[in-house]
Structure formats: C-alpha cells, structure tokens
C-alpha cells in the first residue's frame, strides 16, 4: 500500500521569503502522480501543483515549484516570495496511474503554513 508522510506539522515564513515544505512517499509502482494541495481556513482544497512520475523535469507554477527525487521518493514544495495569502494547510498527495485505482488520492497529514508580515 502507498503511504505519504509530511514530517512538518507546522511551518512559518516571513512575507517575501522562501519556504520549503517536505513530503516523502512510499510506493512500489513506477508510474504515478504527485500533488500539492492548499486548503485555506474554511475554504475548499485547491490544487497547487502536480508532477507526473515519468517526467524528470520538476514542475513549476509561478511562485510554486517542486523538487521531485524519484529514487529517494521525495517531493518537496518550494514557495518563493511568500505572500499572506499563502497561509494555509498544505497537503501532499499521491495518485496511482493505474486506472482501476479509481482516481484515489492518498494524502499526507498536512503542513500548516503561517506567513508573518
């Protein structure tokens, strides 16, 4: 069974600074997807960034980028130029590429990010 681990329950960053959130996972599959989701207080979870395991190039979305280390099963999220609106719970998630897995997302326990003005 696949597992996702986020070892940092809470992180804090100064506005305009850079922060990195850690995530490790365990799987025996070779093809899968990894995601970072953001869940602001009292708002819905939204997708921040996604990475296909078969791609060596790290995904980037504006101020958000990942460091995907497939051999190490590590998938960290870097937020550059942090903004107050980045404050949220961040979840790392895994999804098998096997179609009969039903699109199931396996989540880590989350990292609560606070941004200090």
């Amino acid at each position: 069974a696949q597992t996702v681990t986020q070892s940092q329950p809470e992180m804090s960053v100064q506005e305009a600074e850079t922060v990195t959130l850690s995530c490790t996972y365990d799987t025996s599959e070779s093809d899968y997807y990894l995601f970072w989701y953001k869940q602001p207080p009292s708002r819905q979870m939204i997708l921040v960034i996604r990475q296909e395991a078969y791609k060596q190039q790290n995904a980037t979305e504006n101020r958000f980028s990942v460091n995907f280390q497939k051999a190490a099963k590590s998938f960290s999220l870097k937020i550059s130029d942090s903004q107050l609106g980045d404050a949220a719970m961040y979840f790392c998630a895994y999804r098998s590429a096997t179609y009969n897995q039903g699109g199931k997302l396996i989540f880590g326990q989350g990292t609560e990010l606070s941004v200090k003005p």
């Binding site: 996702v4 329950p9 989701y37 009292s42 708002r43 819905q44 979870m45 939204i46 997708l47 996604r50 979840f91 590429a97 179609y99 897995q101 039903g102 699109g103 199931k104 997302l105 396996i106 989540f107 880590g108 326990q109 989350g110």
Partner: protein, 112 residues
C-alpha cells in the same frame, strides 16, 4: 462561482441519529468522491461513484453509505453516527478517474 457545493457547512447530530450530508456539482463531472478528514489527520477516501457505479473502499465502515440520484448530486448517509465519526467530510469531483479533482468546502460533522 462555487463548482462543488457541500451542504450544510456545519452539521451537529446526536449519537446514533442518522444524518445525511449533501454534495452538488456544476461541472458535469463523471466521478464524485467522499473523503473523511478527522482532526489532525490526512483525508481518507471512503468511496466514489463513476457515473452510477459505486465503488467502496475496503476499509470503509458499513455505517457509511452513499447515493447518487443524478450526475449533479451525491449524498453521504451515516446510519448510526458514533463519536468517532466526528470529522470534516470532503466531497470532490473529477471528469474521469485520471483528471484533476475539484473539492468542495467540506461539511464539519459534530456528534453529541
């Protein structure tokens, strides 16, 4: 505009009293999911519908059931809520099983 809407946002129910949570979507997506998120824990998939096909996770308790009367709506029924069922319940949709999931705001269930 909200695309996945969950009602109510907060629900208080009595121990053992059946309760239903609602999810609707305007995306016309084929797949609808229900996740349970207990305090300080990772969201965990309970089940999903692909169109009318219901798919239960192996470890989902029998106390939890779901209905999908049409494409737009999906319900989560808890037949006899226990204190351990207090959680945030998240509904999500996706066009197919391998496309992006869109989440609702969740319903926070309290059992008293």
């Amino acid at each position: 505009d909200a695309m996945v809407i969950q009602n109510p946002r907060y629900q208080v129910t009595q121990f053992g009293k059946p309760v239903t949570l609602s999810c609707s979507q305007t995306l016309n997506h084929n797949v609808m999911y229900w996740y349970q998120q207990k305090s300080s824990q990772a969201p965990k998939l309970l089940f999903h519908y692909y169109d009318k096909d219901f798919n239960n996770e192996a470890d989902t308790p029998d106390n939890f059931q779901s209905r999908r009367p049409n494409t737009s709506f999906c319900f989560l029924d808890i037949r006899s809520p226990g204190l351990g069922d207090a959680a945030m319940y998240l509904c999500a949709t996706s066009r197919t099983l391998d496309t992006e999931a869109f989440f609702g705001q969740g319903t926070r269930l309290t059992v008293v």
